[in-house]
Symmetry: C2
Subunit: 307 residues, 2 copies
């Protein structure tokens, strides 16, 4: 049995996972990221301690702690280099945990872990090469090549959200213009609608207090012209990003997950059509495109299976 | 000793290569691609037969025939699926050669082979993960992951030239708009200059009968405003393409080869600066960017080492 921890901006989820990837027990606590690294760390300590207690009742001792973070860790130094949402910059998370529990620790990016979990118990299982795209506030990715997590040679790969695919009316939070996530994330949809409303466009979304991707999809269903145009634009650029990935990596399968993914079922066939239209080799096969069916526990499972 | 054959639009180069990748003997013949597959095939037969004869004088028998083509081959069926320059569509090149010579045959894309050769005896040697970019009429690439050629799961990967990176004033030969090669190949430079001349721009290039990348680089050195702008635009988009590759694959090293590469020495530091400006993680290392030093024989060596 191993411990998997999924650290998010609002909650930390932890669980005991067996060697085959089955969840035995899970627990969730608030992150309290505003209190700083020290408080979050002691929250993680408590969570792991309670998981250790539960493991005892099963007469098992966890062999490993895996953690997913919304940021970047250095596997050699066991430091978390960046974790923008949590306000972390070069914090010794891996070192602290190893010292505290005397167990091996691996820290990975959460999108990478989600892709890995998908390849263990989701739709990309049994595929050697897969790409997992998380569409939410931004766009993240988890690449699996030859059945292994691939994050590149310096750990800075799989940042597909920051692949430049065009010119956009607003800059990405990273400072560049034209990043994939400024065209095909939930933020991208919201920014486009706001921009059009500010430009004087009529839409039923004008009266909506907190416009989110969900509201835009619903307005499109109700026939709102701006919402429909926004979804068409989203399909166009999501397909460009997918085709770029196919043209470089040519995976067997691309799974789409993340907060926005459940809303994509209705437009998946449009995405298929647009990808087919843009595909370089029209008569040759390329990877399947599917919507992830894994739930909230994927991050825990993936983290626990990192060892 | 093995046989490596490099099939180009105008010439077919062949050679005997030892197990370590050293060239023993080379020979070159015209392709005669306009005469059709049958004639080109019998030209390849003659070339291989003469290489076999030479091998005899060394008292060695070739163990394998590797071929590079400017197109796409299916390794399972031994058919060449596309080879636009040669006018080939589904030709049984591998089957014909196996029948004729009774030796194992592997056919690969020439950019893939160039990247492989670079990883055997060029600047990407001793790197596990590398990307080789060929800049010429178009843009091709050869990816090496974990010391092995990586062409994806269906063989349609490494087509980085057709990654969409923006909107352009002309469509790519593939039919899409915004492909990397419409911004950063020799063709891209020529098209941009022609477009500007047609729009009434003054330039010393107006009087030049056959404008090529070389003439544009020279005009820029002489201070021609349009040529300088064209080179700046080239640096911008080449860097975007490189950063997109870094953001996805994060290779240890990127080597630039192909017909245009020799002209890049003067602007390599500008490319470095622009890539650094666009890099997602400003404080973390990413792959080196170098200009290939391999000569014309790289295609023969890479092909012969495919076994």
């Amino acid at each position: 049995v191993n411990i998997g921890i999924d650290i998010g901006g609002t909650a930390i989820k932890g669980g005991l996972v067996d060697e085959k990837g089955a969840i035995i027990y899970t627990k969730e606590i608030p992150t309290q990221s505003k209190e700083g690294y020290g408080v979050v760390l002691s929250n993680i300590y408590s969570l792991i301690e309670s998981l250790m207690e539960i493991a005892k009742t099963y007469e098992r001792k966890p062999g490993f702690i895996g953690l997913g973070i919304p940021g970047l860790a250095d596997k050699k130094s066991d430091y978390v280099i960046f974790c923008t949402n949590l306000g972390w910059n070069n914090v010794p998370l891996g070192i602290d945990l190893k010292k505290k529990f005397g167990l091996p620790v691996i820290i990975e990016n959460d999108a990478t872990i989600a892709g890995f979990a998908e390849s263990i118990c989701g739709l990309t299982k049994n595929y050697e090469n897969s790409v997992f795209l998380t569409l939410g506030t931004g766009i993240g990715a988890g690449l699996v090549i030859n059945n292994k997590i691939f994050s590149g040679s310096h750990g800075v790969g799989s940042e597909v959200g920051h692949m430049i695919i065009g010119e956009n009316f607003y800059n990405c939070s990273c400072g560049k213009n034209g990043c994939f996530e400024t065209f095909a994330s939930a933020t991208a949809l919201i920014k486009y609608v706001e921009n059009q409303i500010n430009g004087g466009r009529q839409t039923i979304l004008s009266g909506v207090p907190n416009i989110g991707a969900k509201e835009i999809f619903e307005a499109a269903k109700q026939g709102d012209e701006l919402a429909k145009e926004t979804i068409s634009r989203f399909i166009k650029y999501l397909s460009i990003g997918i085709v770029n990935i196919i043209n470089i990596m040519d995976p067997e399968i691309i799974a789409i997950g993340g907060g926005m993914s459940k809303g994509l079922a209705d437009i998946l066939s449009d995405i298929h059509d647009e990808v087919a239209r843009l595909a370089h080799y029209k008569t040759l096969p390329y990877g399947k495109i599917v919507i992830s069916e894994l739930g909230n526990e994927a991050g825990i499972i993936g983290a626990a299976m990192l060892s």
